[in-house]
């Protein structure tokens, strides 16, 4: 039986799909029975989703343009 502490320690392995089938079932069983750990894993998952949204929303148009100008000013081989 996994403890709540172990649930947090194995959370990355769980969300990355790296647990064996048996471990995965044990993990799911704990989540079914423990609402604290369900809250934990939901929040843990939300972190990556949030940061990814923020990351993708950034525009780099200005920097890209500047960089292209710099590169085109370089001497050709």
């Amino acid at each position: 039986m996994l403890s709540c502490k172990q649930i947090t320690e194995k959370s990355s392995a769980y969300v990355d799909g790296e647990l064996s089938l048996g471990q995965r079932l044990q993990y799911r069983l704990h989540l079914m029975m423990c609402h604290h750990c369900r809250t934990f894993i939901n929040n843990f998952n939300a972190v990556a989703v949030m940061l990814r949204r923020a990351h993708k929303a950034k525009s780099h148009d200005v920097e890209v343009k500047r960089l292209c100008q710099h590169i085109s000013s370089l001497p050709r081989d």
């Binding site: 403890s3 709540c4 502490k5 172990q6 947090t8 320690e9 959370s11 990355s12 392995a13 790296e18 604290h36 750990c37 809250t39 934990f40 939901n42 929040n43 843990f44 939300a46 972190v47 990556a48 989703v49 949030m50 940061l51 990814r52 949204r53 923020a54 990351h55 993708k56 950034k58 780099h60 920097e63 890209v64 960089l67 292209c68 710099h70 590169i71 085109s72 370089l74 050709r76 081989d77």
Partner: protein, 205 residues
Amino acid sequence: MSIDTAKEAALLPALKQQDEQSFNQLVGMYYGAMIGLARSMVGDAIADEVVQEAWVSVYRALPRFEGRSSLKTWILRITANEARTRLRKESRTIAVEGLSPGGDGVLTGRFADDGHWTIPPSTWHEDSPDTLLTSTEMRDCIELTMGRLPELQQAVFVLKDLEDYGFEEICNILQISASNARVLLHRARISLFGKIEHFQDSGEC
């Protein structure tokens, strides 16, 4: 074939001739990933310079690109190398942290001896990631926390969770072992989790 792979394949012949337009297109495609990686390794202040130097290296090396990895992986690896070179010049190094036990940092002290929660996770006010991110303070706080993570933790997090790389490619780009990559990623995620939870509970960073 992913969209990026298809685009890369279409651009490659012209790129190898150092065609400027194709190269500008390439910069547009991968600048975001490169600056994210560079910031994670050298910090905001010199990340721009590192990316610029990396693009110059990419431009010069393109005619010799052999296609053993995807172009994007190759470019990110050059970026990581450029970042390391830069750190060496400034006598800073990136340490792969020792894999000490109990590295789950922010969660230490939240469990009883039997492994049950003593300070259980709080339910976040908003459960959708979209609404969570609407506050500027929250976004600033996350950026700040990201910036304070040890360099390789940030780098692995950026590559895995923001750029969708698999562990094999991450190890190739950063030249670390897969087991290190996994530990670093978990620590980064747990630290970010802890910070967001703290922000949710207290409204402060």
